[in-house]
Symmetry: D2
Subunit: 193 residues, 4 copies
């Protein structure tokens, strides 16, 4: 989904290409339950909601400006299977339906508490995180080791052409680390199609 | 969708991350009609078919080994909305339903003929191509200019971590150019959700 | 050499990492004669001049602001083996000593004329070009084919960490194509050390 | 310097482009004293030795096969200002001349001990490390913090064209993190030219 389709304000948004890769790494079945933690504009929640034809997304966000953007985007895309949750994870996750999948776009410095809470709720949960800070990358790898999570790490570096007259000038985007985590051996199969 | 989920043989396959970006750039509505030209293992066709809940994919391929892989993958993923078409584009496209979208994974050197045929059938078609050869990139940019197509070009460079003991060693994948093309101004909107 | 070491003004400058790769691809012997065409701030000329202990750089530039920056940087680094040449290539190259190496940072749209002139002066010249526009890349590959030049093409994509508090945030630079060209077979050897 | 110029055997070698960036980040004055720790084939030592017209390189390596390659390459390039040191850092560094610069190509798991030893010998030393493992990147950032080193981190991702008939196919190299470290504020200037 194109970035310009979303109402954005000044809230940072995962770029189209990285969003596509991240949603793909979630490997959502159509009846999955996804937490989008630090949902920002809600772009990941909305792109994921399209695949969750029988499932649900909980978009958790503490920033009021972002919250209203999520609500607007939810309406714009008629993404009725998104529940917007106001508050800070992991506290805001209490009482929500058990997740099958979690996307971590921003952790607000509570990475370990969030991971712990999620894994307690569902030890078989699949988690995908986006990070751009090297220190966050290190922290996640550390936590994954401590909590016995198998990790798949990719870095995605995109360059987009900007047109200037007859020329396409390639412009580098920021590289993003996309980390998928899951306990034990990853299951083979194309389930959820 | 994970690369290992597909039956592959020796046929080259678009890698998971590039496939996700490419399918995303197609911007498929649920009732779209997609031609996957040079379908290879059928991985793009299958990933796209999931979004085309009321649409159809025509997976066109001339290589017999690839054709049987597509058929196997189609069965494995129960992707009943994929029609496997044996033959070489543009000739093999004759008689098929009018396309709303086209993915060009491989053109077999018939790029211009294919573009021409597709644009005649539907001047508003949206086309996404993957190229890794610089000469193919140049050819597409040339053709896009000649046929009045607006282009969006991104290069996607992915590195994947390989685990060796306690270490994640980043390994570079080949960069792929993903080129989206469409006539005239691109429409605003989140239709097809 | 660090970017901040150079006096820059508003003239675009090859970034440190790409400059290092480009100068390395020139494979300058200590007695080489280098033309730096479209010299900009002179940063490539100056980095190369350090290796040319018995050689010379001709820094060719038509933009008056850039010319004065080159002169300032030349003085700052005491790079006495740089001759600053005012004018537009290929015309400005007339009368200059025969080049053994050429760096093309900017061609001002005269790529073919420049290549022709250079190759006439020295058919064994080694040329390195930096391009960021896809169309310029295509043009160079075309010209290289037409003039019988062997090419080595690399794309260099650098991300630099920006520090924000305790975090290193990786930020993408624009990818640059570095193209080395030479007639016939490239010679083996470590000559010029 | 081209990779093929070096005698290599089976010892892993820093690739040409990353070597150029790494040597550039060292910012060697002509009278510098460089330790190349984990020198491998000696390619960094040799490329650096060319700039050290009045200085010296100590190439430290523990692997016997690599040691003989360094010696051969040293002879091939007549790099008389390289001293080959057999042994494991930091122990092997004892008794050597005080370093102004250090390149860490491989630490053999003794990163902290090496850093400590080097900084004791010269608190103003400039260190450049190459890492490909995320865990090593994390370790270096940690150590840099603990030892009060300012860091500059870049990741370099190179793709090289492979020619197949008339086509240039871009092939991804492994991304390498190049980390430059120095105590306190980095000095301005173009000294050492």
């Amino acid at each position: 989904m194109r970035d310009e389709w979303f109402i954005r304000g000044d809230v940072p948004m995962t770029k189209s290409e990285v969003r596509a890769v991240s949603v793909s790494k979630l490997e959502l079945p159509c009846d999955g339950v996804l937490y989008d933690v630090g949902a920002g504009t809600g772009s990941v929640a909305i792109e994921a909601s399209r695949l969750l034809t029988e499932g649900r997304v909980y978009a958790v966000e503490r920033n009021p400006e972002a919250l209203s953007l999520i609500a607007e985007n939810r309406a714009r895309f008629q993404a009725d299977n998104i529940t917007v949750v106001c508050g800070e994870a992991p506290k805001a996750l209490e009482g929500l339906e058990r997740p099958s999948h979690v996307f971590l776009g921003g952790s607000g410095g509570q990475m370990e508490e969030i991971l712990k809470e999620i894994l307690e709720r569902n030890p078989a949960v699949r988690i995908v995180a986006n990070v751009i800070a090297l220190e966050s990358l290190c922290e996640i790898l550390n936590l994954a080791g401590r909590y016995g999570l198998e990790t798949e790490v990719v870095s995605v570096q995109v360059a987009r052409a900007r047109k200037t007259g007859a020329y396409h000038l390639m412009q580098g985007q920021n590289p993003v680390y996309v980390i998928a985590m899951e306990r034990g051996e990853r299951k083979e199969g194309g389930e959820g199609h």
